[in-house]
Symmetry: C2
Subunit: 233 residues, 2 copies
DNA sequence: CGGAGATAAAAAGTCAGACTTATTCATCGC
DNA sequence: GCGATGAATAAGTCTGACTTTTTATCTCCG
């Protein structure tokens, strides 16, 4: 995905990170640095670097005379892109996609409203280009090409909002959209209504109509929630 | 705040992290591990562990033969609680509080709506308790006591939403509220209207009225935005 | 004069081993 | 029983040597 071989400690993390986030070691489990170093056939220094990274993600806690203890899931840095990727690759990928989709449903409408106020003309142009790309690939099983434009569309919206915290969710949205296309729902061509909504959002942003951009985006996210059967009874 | 002395590498991060997030080294700047180790009077192993942590936060990138280069702000893991604390302690604390408050304004109303559906009776009880605590300390310059209950209130809402991503924003909201009380606005007693809104949100959640809980919380966050002069003209 | 390839240097990466320190647990004495 | 003492343990730290990768330079030939 990112950089495959960025050092031995990274190699260790590639297998230890997914194991921990998959819940293979229940909270409170104790790992010993020496044993891990043996298992991965690396020196203690390398193992220590890997543990430091896991510690900075709040996945584990290292204490003298005790060892490296696994922290409960409720303390993990679940916004860390690396943690998100590890968890999406794991078993409860579905649960993960659901909570991330709910997050999207809160963020994206507000971001679209802000984008309508702050977007540059370049960003507006990008947006319509993306929307047109989505239209062009919305029929005939061109899901991959559609996905590329879909991801780009939402990235532009988040960037154009002018809010740094929103902008940094671009990767998360990309993961969610990719996950949706590749695994769960979407067996056939995308919902035509959703495609139309994207075009309309682009128009609203260009027109500077914040309320309309927000409301239309809310409809998009409602659709995403419904796809995952997340709805209010 | 958290754990002061968790090893030498932590001590190094306590000064190097804030320096980097404060922008003291422009993007592309190169640091050398050996020099840093000398500067902080620690061994290279300790320094390497610190660099690994900074790397996992995407603050720096370590490359052979080049050194440790500082990444542009746009690539930082700005959702990392540690990074948030470092930046809030820095110079552009104000800009930080603004972007985080916008984030709150997107998240909290949705979280409140979900809380109205998912909150347990214990959580409802906690909520009204917090709201009453806010009322009790809303007059007479008891800002600290008010803050404690305010933070607790919003934490319960985020937890009760049942969404993990929302729940993990409790610390962020706590930082924002604390920052607001201790530095920026709020020279006197809190706005009575805001206090009333919190009580009403607690009622709405208890009653299971999602739409009302969401709308009332939206009014709270609008107030927070106005305090920072973030408003649509 | 210019480009391709060899060469050298620089910095991170890795490893092994010795030592330090904090923490926990068990034992001993009251 | 209970508190103090001590021993065991695992992380923490340091040092020094070595390896590897990448970049810059330098040479040689077209």
């Amino acid at each position: 995905m990112t950089t495959p071989g960025r050092g031995l400690h990274g190699r260790v993390l590639d297998t230890l990170g997914p194991e921990i986030t998959a819940g293979e070691y229940p909270p409170g489990s104790v790992l010993r640095t020496d044993e891990l170093a043996q298992r991965f056939d690396v020196s203690r220094s390398v193992m220590r670097e890997a543990v430091r990274v896991l510690e900075s993600m709040h996945l584990v806690e290292s204490r003298r005379r005790v060892g490296v203890t696994v922290r409960p899931e409720s303390e993990w840095n679940v916004y860390d892109p690396q943690v998100i990727r590890w968890r999406l690759a794991g078993a409860d990928r579905a649960r993960q996609l659901r909570s991330l989709t709910v997050l999207r449903s809160a963020i994206e409408p507000v971001a679209a409203g802000l984008a309508a106020r702050h977007a540059t003309s370049e960003q507006c142009a990008e947006l319509t280009e993306c929307a047109l790309g989505m239209v062009a690939h919305s029929r005939g099983h061109k899901l991959e090409e559609y996905l590329v434009h879909d991801v780009a569309f939402h990235r532009v919206i988040l960037d154009a909002s002018g809010n740094e915290m929103f902008a940094r969710l671009g990767d998360v949205v990309a993961e969610v959209l990719a996950g949706r296309t590749h695994h769960d729902v979407m067996f056939e061509d995308p919902d035509p209504a959703a495609v139309t909504l994207h075009v309309q959002v682009a128009e609203a942003v260009r027109a500077g109509d914040a309320a309309r951009a927000e409301e239309l985006t809310r409809q998009i996210t409602v659709g995403a929630l419904q796809e995952l059967d997340i709805l209010a009874p």
